[in-house]
């Protein structure tokens, strides 16, 4: 039974929210600029509450169960974050208020910058990017600005490993570079000879995810970074997988020049059904002049009596502004809360247990599923969701069947270099019990695949809807609650 839309629930004359009456005189409205109709739905407050409550019950969520989406880091979202971000001093602060009136905000941002610097080893941080992809774009622009500043305008290429997330080449192109793909070797590392062969004076940089999307820490990381640096290029780190590295290693120490972090992955801020996220970017000293504006800095040093005055600064060779105002402050408060609570030891425990959980789960599944790269993993690992003896059964079918057992499937079909990939990232907030149960179910599904494959082909059976016709959705485009004629 499908849920009616707000347009279908609408009843003429209903009002869900009342405003006070107008207490000033009425002025003339510019008649030629007024709209004639406004066909929005009319619902009462109870209609709205019921409708969205019912919709919410159709969703799977971390609050409901295990969500092993590789590279998404679906860890538990602490409730305290939802309290701190809603403190009225934060939520009612206007971005353009005089800085003296928002020192609480500015201190929080400054401290978060300092903490992220300490955790990752970078010398300067911007909190402005709205998401990881925007952080990548910023990183590419910084690389571009760096080479232009050195009057080196031959460097038009950025190298991207074939295992990279799609945002990597997309961000690279948006920044005006050409993408050259680098293959991985048999152990899942970047292929060194291939890298050497393309590293020359036309290369602006390499975009590297480490651990990579196979969940593997590159065994030759220092050599790779050195090769790129020797050729005069910079190394960009995609920090989506930072959950494996907190307190374990600082990416800047390895030689990475610029990197984004995903606060909505590593630092527990919620995914929100598709955002909002936050993608701060850290840079080496050489690149700090190019960061976007504004950064938060100390405008006036304090002393024993008076605290410092925090404010906004524009880096001298800034690539410019990348969005309005200062960044996703509401998300920054949550990440700040998290780091504040975890502290030094807590952060390291995160990575230790994230990696323990992944290796444990991998061990429990490797006998029944093909492991394309059989070496210890970091915080995630990839399996092949296919068996040679049942070629018409795909990773998709396994994913859909998992839903019948109340699990969210792992990431499907990514990275592209593993066929029928199932990328599994348990995160550190899952207990051994949950992992054992998941492994049990995966083994049961492997069994079903061999003995009763139709169960998988027709899955899911127990969800609010079954498999949807994606071809029809794309061919008969209906993107609104009323017909949009002939797209």
């Amino acid at each position: 039974m499908s849920e009616a839309t707000i347009f279908e629930l609408s009843s003429p004359g209903r009002v869900g929210f009342q405003f006070p009456e107008l207490d000033v005189p009425q002025f003339d409205l510019p008649k030629n600029l007024l709209r004639k109709d406004l066909d929005l739905p009319e619902l009462s407050e109870i209609d709205v509450i019921r409708h969205f409550t019912r919709l919410s019950s159709l969703n799977y969520s971390i609050d409901k169960g295990f969500y092993p989406l590789g590279s998404c880091t679906m860890k538990y979202n602490p409730r305290i974050n939802e309290v701190t971000s809603r403190l009225s001093g934060f939520s009612f602060s206007h971005p353009l208020q005089p800085i003296e009136t928002v020192q609480g905000n500015l201190f929080l941002m400054f401290q978060l910058q300092e903490w992220l610097k300490e955790i990752t080893g970078f010398k300067a941080i911007t909190l402005q990017p709205a998401a990881g992809a925007q952080g990548e774009f910023v990183g590419c622009l910084i690389i571009r600005a760096y080479h232009q500043d050195r009057k080196d305008d031959k460097r038009k290429i950025i190298l991207v490993p074939d295992s990279a997330h799609g945002t990597n080449p997309a961000s690279t192109t948006m920044a005006g570079f050409e993408v050259v793909n680098i293959p991985s070797d048999k152990r899942g590392n970047v292929d060194i000879p291939a890298l050497r062969s393309v590293c020359n004076e036309n290369v602006a940089g390499l975009m590297l995810t480490n651990p990579n999307t196979l969940g593997l820490f590159d065994e030759n990381i220092l050599e790779i970074i050195n090769i790129v640096h020797q050729a005069g290029g910079l190394v960009y780190g995609d920090g989506a997988n930072l959950n494996a590295l907190l307190g374990i290693v600082r990416p800047a120490d390895l030689g990475i020049d610029v990197m984004h972090f995903n606060l909505h992955k590593t630092f527990s801020t919620p995914h929100g059904g598709g955002g909002p996220g936050s993608g701060p970017v850290g840079v080496s000293k050489e690149l700090s002049d190019f960061l976007p504006e504004p950064l938060v800095g100390i405008l006036e040093k304090g002393d024993e009596e008076v605290p410092p005055l925090y404010g906004f600064i524009k880096p001298p060779k800034s690539i410019g502004r990348i969005k309005s105002f200062h960044g996703h402050f509401g998300v920054l408060v949550r990440a700040f809360t998290y780091i504040n609570m975890l502290g030094k030891d807590g952060l390291r425990k995160v990575s230790e247990y994230a990696v323990l959980n992944a290796n444990y789960l991998m061990q429990k599944l490797k006998n029944n599923y093909t492991l394309p790269f059989d070496r210890p993993c970091m915080h995630e690992f990839v399996l092949e969701g296919v068996w040679k003896d049942i070629p018409d059964l795909h990773a998709l079918d396994i994913a859909k069947r998992l839903m019948d057992y109340d699990f969210h499937p792992p990431t499907n079909y990514f990275p592209l270099i593993v066929k029928e990939a199932l990328m599994i990232e348990p995160t550190e907030t899952e207990s051994k019990q949950t992992l054992d149960r998941f492994a049990e179910v995966m083994l049961k599904i492997a069994d079903e695949a061999h003995n009763d494959p139709q169960l998988l082909h027709d899955a899911p059976h127990h969800t609010p809807v079954s498999r949807l016709d994606e071809v029809k959705a794309a061919r008969d485009l209906v993107l609104c609650c009323w017909p949009v004629k002939d797209i």
């Binding site: 065994e219 995914h271 059904g273 609570m341 051994k432 993107l479």
Partner: protein, 450 residues
């Protein structure tokens, strides 16, 4: 803190994988850099952390205490209690992007409803699931136009009355697109000029003309002749809107606009020091394949039940990779939900009502302030809820004094142009009562005499 493992469980798990300590898991990390000693404070309990963070929040003076006459792209509107109550449901905020539609129908239908509401509000045929904010949506509009003309048209005309953050963001975004040129809003242009300059600059090289409606200064212009000229030369027109204003004003789609962008913060999203907000992006159907960002479409499942899925995904980065028109992945899902709930609560009558309240209160304030000695209202066109006032002293001095009386004064337009020194941009929302306006006027006179 959020890690459930006991000592015993850890031991058993390590045994299972043939290790004796957690350190062994990281032997692949170069030893020289392994296990750095981070200079970070010790962890805190929830109680301790909350106390510290509350101190920070309390160190601010914010619009829960101050009476806010500041707008300039972020507005202090009232947020109905039902909005946050629904947003706090873990089924919404702890869910991921709806890539598995069978277990994400809540998120997908909500986005579908969002798309529908915005399409209707703006008069456009297609609306995406959101961009980060108005500024990045405006930048993406330029990129959409660039790809629409396959790179053959390279000029982007921006109105000088477009929000300064939008103009700056567009410049940053377009720097990777060879040969493109951004014109119309250069520093020598009078920011308060009419649209005539812009209209006369439109030619066959123009990919996109971008104006704001109401503009940054709150003014409303009839865009008919601009659109006519643009379409005559084959250029696209994009308009940046304030969605609250659309409760009253003609929808841009109804007068031929090609792309509508804007910031949805006024729709049930708290100020929150400027973020996260909501990027509105809606277009005519012809541009759909160049539209960036997610799209939710309607379909049916195997049993014929209606359901929703992400569609036209072949445009996006996870499929097109370097050929994608945009790199956007995570967007502003939860904020789009907030806007959907807000608009559902207000509905047809409520949105019209809030729009009228803002309009009339702003006009009342303008009328009163215009009569104060030393102050004059510079806005000489129709306007929505913001207007320009020329003041007898510098705005920072006036605002400083106003804050002693519990006011957050308007935006200092000297930030836009030296010709606007001593000019303030005042915004009035439905939260401002007649008494507050009267009191504000009293204090303006006082502080100007100090």
């Amino acid at each position: 803190m959020f890690i459930p493992h006991t000592e015993d469980e850890r031991k058993v798990m390590l045994e299972t994988i043939g290790k004796t300590s957690l350190e062994e898991l990281f032997s692949v990390v170069p030893q020289k850099y392994r296990f750095p000693n981070l200079d970070l404070p010790a962890g805190l309990t929830e109680m301790e952390a909350l106390e510290q963070i509350q101190d920070l929040a309390q160190a601010n003076e914010a619009c829960d205490d101050l009476i806010c006459f500041l707008g300039a792209g972020a507005y202090d509107h009232y947020i109905p209690a039902a909005v946050d109550s629904l947003l706090r449901r873990g089924e919404f905020f702890t869910a991921y992007t709806p890539y598995q539609p069978e277990i994400s129908q809540g998120t997908l239908q909500a986005i579908f409803e969002y798309q529908s509401l915005i399409a209707h509000l703006t008069g456009m045929e297609v609306c995406n699931a959101s961009h980060y904010d108005g500024a990045t949506a405006a930048a993406e509009a330029c990129i959409t136009a660039f790809h629409h003309f396959q790179g053959k048209r390279k000029t982007f005309l921006l109105s000088p009355a477009l929000h300064p953050d939008y103009r700056a963001t567009i410049r940053t975004y377009l720097c990777g697109f060879e040969g493109t040129s951004i014109q119309g809003d250069e520093s020598h242009q009078d920011p308060l000029s009419s649209l005539d300059n812009l209209i006369s600059s439109i030619d066959e090289n123009t990919a996109l003309v971008l104006v704001q409606y109401p503009d940054f200064f709150g003014r409303i212009f009839d865009l008919a002749s601009l659109i006519k000229k643009a379409h005559k030369t084959g250029s696209l027109v994009a308009v940046a809107v304030n969605p609250i204003a659309l409760g009253l004003l003609k929808a841009p789609g109804d007068f031929g606009v090609d792309i509508v962008v804007g910031d949805g913060q006024p729709l049930g999203i708290p100020l929150s020091f400027g973020g996260p907000t909501l990027g509105i992006f809606a277009t005519r159907k012809e541009l759909i394949r160049k539209v960036s960002g997610r799209l939710v479409g309607e379909s049916v499942d195997a049993q014929g039940r209606r359901g929703y899925v992400l569609t036209l995904t072949a445009r996006e980065q996870h499929i097109r990779r370097e050929k994608a028109t945009s790199n956007i992945c995570t967007n502003q899902g939860l904020m789009a939900l907030a806007a959907t709930i807000y608009l559902s609560l207000l509905g047809k009558q409520g949105l019209r009502k809030i729009s009228e309240l803002c309009y009339h209160k702003a006009h009342y304030a303008a009328q009163k302030i215009g009569k104060l000695k030393g102050f004059s209202v510079k806005t000489d066109t129709p306007f929505f809820n913001e207007f320009i006032v020329e003041c007898p002293r510098s705005i920072s001095q006036i605002n400083n004094s106003l804050s002693d009386h519990g006011f957050l004064g308007g935006y200092d337009l000297a930030n836009i142009s030296p010709t606007l020194e001593n000019h303030m941009l005042i915004a009035v929302t439905e939260k401002i009562s007649k008494e507050m306006i009267d009191f504000f006027c009293e204090k303006l006179v006082e502080v100007s005499n100090e």
